[in-house]
């Protein structure tokens, strides 16, 4: 390479800050790009040498994440969030408008290297779209007027930091509060309640006792009593899968290892979901408190928050909360005055990969690798971060755990339904008068939610995002709960004017873009689905293509490596079941109709063989 640029001057301080640890590869690459605009080949060589890694491995990491670029990608990178809700708010027209203004082609860097306008997966601003990211900074409520201003700012090369502050305003839009969003806990209250469940000197005795036999029962009582409260609460994971939180914590606590880790999954990538954005903006103390309680229960000294790249704007405020808590003795050494209760948290920022919301892929990413889900078993509770016992929980789960630690399991369990304790945050967007965050006890019907958010003339609701379910009017009496419709929180509303085929097609594009590519069925299958949907959209589809969707579904749901592939066909299968006319009116033919007369084509053969019996004719359908 003829790269004469000096990369050492900006890379050295970054590498120093991350102690030249290979686990920070994603963070180092991200910051290197922030500084230089992209990750140059020579920079990759330098970083790899500094970290003692094969160069190709670092290049492979840089090539995995959507927000990392190994070639110039524009000094201004404008990415339109491309969830279906953004589409419904006209993001594509705005994208074309901005492209025209800037004289650029979508997805191509301008010839002067100044700007590139493209799309990206849902940025978690569905309640205030159309949303964009400019060099990683979130801008909401795009309009033509705002596009004009942005075009002007880009042409005048104004640094994004100097753009009008109101561009970057993100509203919370909390529309309904219950026990979590309406909580009255002071920082530290849940921790003190957890510690208070054991004898006052439990932790001191654990380290000073003459033998573990003597100290064991007392030392573990605080953590075990707290774990018992979590058990009593019947709290289940809020990220979608609904695994029992206490079982996860218990397994980690009992696993053998040199160290234990608490990981907060803030990689909220499911299109239509934005509850964690609000929790991390307004309830960061409660979330971190929950992580600290988790650390107390499992015996972890280190915690990690995996913050999705789209929420990088929250990094500063989150670090501030961490700092305040350290100052109050709620993080760091001797938490709540306990001699042996040391715990601290650092934040890793993602770089645009939905798959990192899968817990083992998230751990790979935390370790500075490509975000590819691991083979399981073993599970993270025994072999997680750095192969040590690790709990990975959703942002909302930690917040709920803090409530349970403070107020007790019985109290929590009394809310919701017998199988689904507590409340759930909904991220409501789409065709409704009042989009935003709604907290409901489990067991609420879809109908009630639609009424509250001001949705009228509703045709369908997509619950829990593209990987969840799409239901029609006949199912609006169903309940949101683990025993009926489970959800990670997304609730996208579609009225009767919406074309449900286009909804499914948008989701097909999403999965194809976000498949990690590890396993054959998902890597190839999601792309085949995308092209099948595009073919149907362009009016060239036939019944054969619809059959292929079901064929791919049968393969992906059984043989894919992880949940992404298992659920990637859901949007197509759900809408084909419920809104088949949306597909059929696009198909060229509902039956297999050959382009020529098959029996006629056999005439020459009949003549040559001198046959004209029934066996020499194709059977005609009655």
């Amino acid at each position: 390479m003829n790269d004469v640029t000096d990369h050492t001057s900006y890379l050295d301080p970054i590498l120093e800050r991350y102690q030249r640890q290979p686990t920070y590869v994603v963070q180092i690459l991200r910051e290197a790009q922030d500084h230089f605009g992209y990750i140059a080949p020579a920079a990759i060589t330098y970083i790899a040498a500094a970290l003692g890694l094969p160069r190709a491995r670092v290049e492979g990491v840089a090539g995995f994440y959507s927000f990392l670029h190994t070639e110039p990608a524009g000094r201004y990178r404008v990415l339109f969030s491309d969830n279906i809700t953004d589409r419904m708010l006209g993001n594509m027209e705005l994208l074309d408008y901005l492209c025209n203004k800037l004289w650029v082609e979508r997805g191509k860097v301008s010839e002067d290297g100044l700007v590139c306008v493209d799309t990206t997966s849902c940025t978690g601003m569905c309640d205030q779209g159309p949303a964009i990211l400019v060099n990683g900074h979130a801008i909401t409520r795009m309009t033509r007027g705002r596009a004009d201003e942005i075009a002007e700012l880009i042409r005048s090369k104004a640094p994004v930091a100097e753009w009008p502050a109101e561009f970057f305003a993100v509203a919370d839009n909390i529309q309904r509060r219950d026990i979590l969003l309406g909580h009255d806990l002071a920082p530290g209250e849940a921790i003190r309640a957890a510690v208070g469940r054991g004898p006052a000197d439990a932790m001191e005795r654990a380290v000073s006792a003459r033998s573990w036999r003597e100290s064991y029962p007392a030392a573990v009582r605080g953590p075990t009593e707290t774990l018992d409260e979590i058990k009593r609460s019947n709290l289940r994971g809020r990220g979608g899968a609904g695994f029992t939180t206490a079982a996860k914590w218990d397994a980690c606590r009992n696993a053998l290892g040199q160290a234990r880790y608490v990981v907060c999954n803030a990689d909220e990538g499911e299109p239509g979901t934005f509850k964690d954005r609000v929790l991390l903006t307004r309830y960061a103390d409660l979330v971190i408190e929950g992580m600290t309680v988790g650390a107390y229960v499992v015996g972890a000294k280190r915690g990690l928050i995996y913050l999705r790249g789209e929420y990088r704007y929250l990094l500063q405020s989150l670090n501030q909360v961490l700092g305040e808590r350290r100052a109050k003795g709620l993080l760091g050494p001797h938490i709540a005055g306990q001699a042996n209760f040391d715990f601290d948290i650092e934040i890793h920022v993602g770089a645009g990969a939905y798959i990192c919301g899968e817990e083992s892929a998230l751990i790979e990413s935390l370790e500075g690798k490509r975000g590819v889900p691991r083979n399981r078993p073993p599970f993270p509770v025994t072999h997680g971060y750095l192969n040590q016992p690790t709990i990975v929980n959703n942002v909302e789960t930690f917040a709920a755990a803090a409530l349970v630690a403070a107020k007790g399991g019985e109290w929590y369990r009394a809310i919701g339904t017998p199988k689904s304790a507590g409340t759930k945050l909904f991220s409501i967007s789409g065709d409704c008068a009042r989009p935003g965050i709604y907290e409901y006890p489990f067991g609420i019907t879809v109908e009630e939610v639609l009424h509250d958010c001001g949705a009228t003339d509703t045709q369908a609701v997509q619950i829990s995002g593209p990987s969840g379910v799409c239901i029609d009017e006949s199912e609006f009496r169903r309940r949101i709960a683990f025993e009926d419709i489970p959800t990670a929180g997304a609730f996208m509303v579609f009225n009767r004017d919406r074309d449900m085929f286009e909804v499914a097609r948008n989701f097909a594009h999403f999965f194809a873009h976000e498949s990690c590519g590890f396993c054959t069925p998902c890597r190839v299958g999601t792309t085949l689905l995308k092209s099948t949907m595009d073919k149907i959209a362009s009016g060239h589809g036939t019944q054969h293509d619809v059959n292929d969707v079901f064929r791919l579904n049968r393969l992906l749901e059984t043989s894919s490596h992880c949940g992404l592939g298992h659920t990637a066909c859901n949007p197509m299968v759900d809408t084909l079941k419920r809104f088949r006319p949306a597909y059929e009116r696009r198909l060229k033919s509902l039956d297999f109709e050959p382009a020529f007369d098959l029996d006629g084509a056999l005439a020459a053969a009949r003549q040559m063989t001198r046959r004209d019996d029934a066996g020499a004719h194709l059977k005609t359908e009655a």
Binding site: M1, A56, G60, A62, A353, V524, R554
Partner: protein, 239 residues
């Protein structure tokens, strides 16, 4: 310890720590596979070896053998899924068997024949994957890569060179080499490397040796791939 499970009704004994695939191959029962290689840690990405263990689908190369388990492999449904996976691999890359010097020695081709794959079924994607002929002795034809990572594993685990790695994501995932130029000639690969021997398809080829063995006399020309595994412990000799 005398543990066993059943595979399509046949009893298969296994050693502790063995996966279903390892135990089956040791017993001379073939489960179709591509990314699995007996000398390397199972990887589980091609999913061609997917079986049902007690009714639950899972990759047989990574799932630990369990005493008393009922494993199904050679069923119409699973064979049909394998055909679809092989078709996917064919349309994802550029595989032109008649002009490929690996023809007859290619696992993908052999498996397609064995499974009775008669057409690609899906539309060809025809990706643009330029070859790397920069190295004096070795040709890389990425058109045929099925992303099994065997060369990645061999170069890292055996050769200790890390010549190969993967970059990109999803359908854009691709094999890269360990050089700033991106060219094989700037790596320290050698003809004697293990990574030279493990490619199940025709990506990594020594130059000037292509047709030393004529088509018709090659490994899978002599007998189909499933017949190469029908002796107990035949797996180690394969490859």
């Amino acid at each position: 310890m005398n543990s066993s499970f059943t595979l399509d009704g046949q009893e298969i004994a296994f050693q502790p720590g063995q996966t279903v695939m390892q135990a089956a191959l040791a017993a001379g029962v073939f489960i179709p596979h591509l990314c699995f290689h007996p000398e390397f840690k199972p990887h589980g990405s091609c999913k061609v070896c997917t079986v049902k263990v007690n009714g639950r689908p899972t990759a047989s190369c990574t799932v630990p053998a369990m005493a008393g388990a009922e494993v199904e492999s050679n069923t119409p449904d699973l064979q049909d899924k394998r055909r679809t996976l092989v078709q996917m691999l064919f349309v994802e890359g550029n595989h032109f068997c008649p002009s490929c010097e690996k023809s007859g020695n290619c696992m993908l081709q052999a498996l397609a024949y064995d499974l009775g794959v008669m057409s690609p079924h899906f539309n060809q994607m025809f990706p643009d994957r330029p070859v790397d002929a920069s190295h004096p002795d070795i040709l890389l034809d990425f058109n045929r890569c099925i992303l099994c990572e065997l060369c990645v594993r061999a170069s890292s685990e055996v050769d200790k060179k890390n010549v190969f790695a993967l970059s990109g994501r999803g359908i854009r995932k691709h094999l890269i080499v360990n050089a700033e130029s991106g060219r094989l000639r700037d790596t320290d690969i050698a003809l004697t490397d293990k990574a030279m021997q493990v490619c199940p398809v025709g990506v990594i080829l020594p130059k000037r040796r292509g047709f030393a063995l004529p088509i018709g006399k090659r490994f899978y020309d002599v007998k189909p791939i499933s017949a190469h595994f029908d002796q107990p412990n035949a797996a180690a000799a394969e490859g």
